[in-house]
């Protein structure tokens, strides 16, 4: 085709806005922009008029007022004299807690179920198929309600554990008690607790900070040791003996911190009609966590199965031909390739789990929606502001999760041209 270098002489005509592909996209974009802006202007105009009718504006000062309601589970200090902002923070932490616990447990259960569904064992493979199909095809709300009903209806009351021949008994060597009100589990007690560090509105539990620092530091030290060992191996061909160094690096700091804090395990014991000691986890949290875990794990199992199936047989055969043992084949050949397929849908499952945790409302777990979007909203009547804030917080959580997971995804991605 001959290339036309000179511009048509006719100049610009109005029709070219539609018929000339050079200008058409600009026309379409301007039309779309005008339509969208008109729509937004219409909504905002309505909003302002409605607010004027009601005689109020958009005002977030209610967050500084006294909340006046109690929350059954709080990770940070909170009383009904605290502010609504504080209640929001408590709700946010509760949301993050159940989301975090759910993501961890769902990953473990999901990977196990996905691998087991591929197992050559007929019984196990069929069982896992049934599990996955049943949990995927029934609404999450039903699982939350049913598991909560199991906890509140089918489990014994705390006083059933009393007496010579109690009607109920604790499980796991008398350390965990499932009752119809709470689940009592052993917990760590710090004799030399460092207390709370207050930095303006931010409260930090120093014990927790120390433990997290020890774990993270241990992981980094471990990686440095392994990198050094690899460097020496590549330079000299001999790998230094390192088996004890990672163990020391991983567990040394955390044991030191525990010793420093004077840690001992406190198991729940029955006193009178109730359990004391340990940690009493409310059944709403346990039920919500279990339901979210089992439901999301069914989806993760499918993702894992698809990921492993996506690695062609030739890869494992090639690895065996090279003389790699099955374990090394899995960790060096299959898994890195499968992870590339698994990670992106896994991210969206984590996001789904976090968003689904807003169903906490069904079992009375006070998450972000229960505090800010529930009682605070109803008490202050600031529906618009509360919902805007609620959506914003969820949006930020989602963006943070997908952002971090995308960074990880990029690091394991196939590096192409």
């Amino acid at each position: 085709m001959a290339v036309v270098t000179d511009e048509p002489k006719a100049g610009f005509r109005l029709g070219m806005l539609i018929y000339d592909t050079r200008y058409r996209s600009i026309t379409i974009q301007i039309v779309v922009l005008i339509l969208v802006m008109a729509g937004v202007a219409w909504l905002v105009d309505n909003l302002l008029r409605n607010l004027a009718v009601l005689g109020r504006g958009i005002d977030f000062s209610f967050l500084g007022n006294r909340s006046g309601y109690d929350i059954n589970q709080t990770l940070v200090e909170y009383t009904n004299d605290s502010t609504h902002a504080r209640a929001t923070l408590v709700g946010l932490l509760n949301t993050l807690l159940v989301a975090f616990l759910g993501c961890v447990a769902a990953t473990v259960v999901g990977v196990l179920a996905g691998v087991m569904r591929l197992s050559k064992n007929w019984v196990i493979a069929r069982l896992m198929t049934v599990y996955v199909e049943v949990f995927r095809n029934i609404p999450l709300l039903l699982w939350i309600l049913i598991i909560f009903a199991v906890f509140t209806e089918a489990l014994p009351a705390p006083n059933a554990f009393r007496g010579e021949n109690p009607a109920a008994s604790m499980v796991l060597f008398d350390t965990v008690a499932f009752t119809n009100r709470y689940t009592a589990i052993p917990w760590l007690i710090f004799d030399n607790s460092m207390g709370w560090l207050t930095l303006g509105p931010v409260y930090l539990n120093i014990d927790l900070v120390l433990i997290v620092t020890a774990v993270v530091g241990g992981v980094f030290a471990n990686r440095a040791i392994l990198r050094r060992a690899k460097r020496i191996q590549e330079a000299t061909g001999e790998r230094p003996t390192t088996w004890w160094q990672p163990i020391l690096a991983l567990f040394g700091p955390i044991i030191a911190v525990f010793l420093f804090l004077g840690t001992h395990v406190d198991a729940p014991t029955l006193q009178g009609f109730n359990f004391t000691g340990g940690l009493q986890v409310s059944n709403s949290l346990v039920a919500l966590w279990l339901a979210l875990t089992l439901y999301t794990a069914a989806f993760i199992a499918e993702i894992v199965r698809a990921g492993i199936n996506a690695v062609s047989r030739g890869q494992s055969e090639a690895a065996f031909a090279l003389g790699l043992r099955p374990g090394r084949t899995m960790s060096l050949v299959i898994l890195p390739q499968a992870l590339r397929v698994i990670i992106p849908p896994l991210i969206s499952q984590y996001l789904n789990l976090t968003k689904n945790s807003s169903l906490a409302i069904a079992v009375g777990y006070m998450d972000l929606r229960g505090t800010l979007g529930g009682i605070t909203l109803n008490q202050t009547g600031r529906g618009l502001e509360a919902m805007m804030l609620l959506m914003l917080i969820y949006l930020v959580i989602s963006l943070i999760i997908s952002g971090t997971m995308n960074i990880y995804n990029n690091s394991v991605r196939l590096k192409e041209r």
Binding site: N50, K120, N121, P139, L141, S358
Partner: protein, 436 residues
């Protein structure tokens, strides 16, 4: 003298010996599939143990169930009389007695034929969409069905849905009239603009005028009376029908080179995907009035449907975008080389392939949407799972019933969602064109 005897020569094959008992039949199968290694033996025993434990605890309870009783206490009496003191069993009589409520909520009972007819017609309408062996003419019915179904469910004047449908006719006529006068592009603008103007300004008065001339109307049913599975079906299937086209449009917007269109699509999709559906439903029920002209109040089910459609559309957009991205670049270039314009290229080359790749994702989004219809209970609608069950449990007869309603509703959801996923596998297989 002759030799004493001929050397032995075998003239026919021996019958093959039977394989050892461990290498044949059920034993071989069990050795290979159940007991191939110590770990597998343990797993098999654990698995069978778990199944036996669950079945032995649940099955007797279910089988002892009573189907004819008026209340929970009556159920318990019957079971104790039949099986002895202290024995428990399921009380399926609840479902038998409250069946209409689970299906129809508080829909007026003398009008039950309407949702039933709407449901049957819905099956007729979606059949040609699902199975292409059926005559293609039935698709026309599928196009008319939304208006018909709306009229059957909510009642009111027949002219309202008819005039809504007429908008499409208006668009067609406008396009036909403008085409010879001003060309294709203005004709397609007219085809969009005319129906919008019709719906905004003309449809209402015309419907009212026709209603006064020829009154054909069904008794009106208010949205608050809806409940149970008709609510789930209404929201679920309307959501499915409308979210797919919207999702495809959003995906095209996100793949577009046009900066503004692209950024608007991305913003919309990421916003919707970033917030839980519950918050959107709450917005629909609590806040939508803030954003509409003062004094307007429109139907709660409609608001919920709009939110569900927007929510599912964002997810479908991402699924379809994956399908679009998976297409080789050559397909787009081939379409360009053939001289197809954007819409023809999309319709004839890109979309058929991209949608085929996205089928599993689209169907699982639909399944998610259908399951999410249970969340409408949080904005005060009576979904079958919690709304109706709570209503049933509030009556003195059925106070204290826990498992039966959940099992029943769960089973129905399972049947519907499971058949959807099986249909998607069937469709994938049917459309598979690669040769493996």
């Amino acid at each position: 003298m002759k030799a004493t005897s001929d050397p032995f020569v075998r003239r026919e094959m021996l019958a093959p010996a039977a394989p050892p008992i461990t290498e044949a039949g059920a034993v071989k199968w069990m050795r290979e599939n159940l007991f191939s290694s110590p770990l597998n033996v343990i797993l098999t025993v654990l698995g069978i143990g778990a199944v036996v434990y669950l079945v032995s605890h649940i099955a007797p309870w279910m089988l002892r169930g009573v189907w004819n009783a008026g209340s929970l206490s009556e159920c318990r009496q019957i079971i104790e009389a039949r099986y002895g003191e202290g024995v428990t069993g399921a009380c399926w009589a609840l479902i038998r007695e409250r069946w209409p409520q689970y299906l129809f909520g508080f829909y007026p009972s003398e009008l039950y034929w309407r949702p039933v007819l709407a449901f049957v017609l819905m099956l007729v309408a979606i059949a040609p969409v699902l199975f292409d062996a059926l005559p293609r003419k039935m698709l026309w019915f599928a196009l008319v069905y939304p208006a018909l179904g709306f009229w059957l469910l909510w009642g009111g004047s027949v002219w309202v849905p008819v005039m809504a449908l007429a908008g499409f006719g208006v668009g067609y006529v406008a396009a036909k009239v403008v085409q010879p006068l001003a060309g294709t592009i203005l004709a397609s603008i007219a085809a969009v603009l005319a129906p919008v103007l019709w719906w905004l300004f003309a449809a209402g008065p015309v419907a009212a005028a026709l209603e006064s001339l020829i009154p054909i109307a069904l008794q009106e049913v208010r949205s608050r009376e809806f409940g149970g599975f008709i609510l789930a079906f209404t929201i679920g299937f309307t959501g499915i029908a409308f979210s797919l086209p919207l999702g495809v449009l959003l995906a095209l917007g996100r793949q577009s080179d046009m900066f503004i269109v692209n950024k608007l699509s991305v913003g919309f999709i990421e916003f919707i995907r970033g917030v839980p559906l519950i918050t959107l439903l709450f917005t629909a029920s609590l806040l939508l009035n803030y954003f509409l002209p003062p004094g307007t109040d429109f139907d709660i089910i409609l608001r919920v449907i709009i939110m569900v459609v927007l929510f599912a559309a964002a997810y479908i957009a991402e699924v379809v975008r994956g399908g679009l991205a998976a297409l080789p670049r050559g397909q787009y270039e081939a379409a360009d080389a053939l001289g197809l314009d954007y819409f023809k290229a999309q319709r004839l080359i890109i979309m058929p392939q991209a949608l085929k790749i996205s089928i599993p994702g689209i169907v699982s989004t639909f399944i998610g949407l259908f399951k999410d219809t249970t969340l409408v209970v949080f904005v005060g609608l009576l979904d079958p799972l919690k709304g109706i069950t709570d209503a049933v449990r509030a009556s003195t007869d059925w106070k204290g019933v826990y498992w039966e309603p959940y099992i029943f509703v769960g089973a129905i959801f399972f049947i519907i969602c499971f058949s959807m996923s099986r249909y998607s596998m069937y469709l994938e297989n049917k459309l598979k064109t690669d040769h493996r």
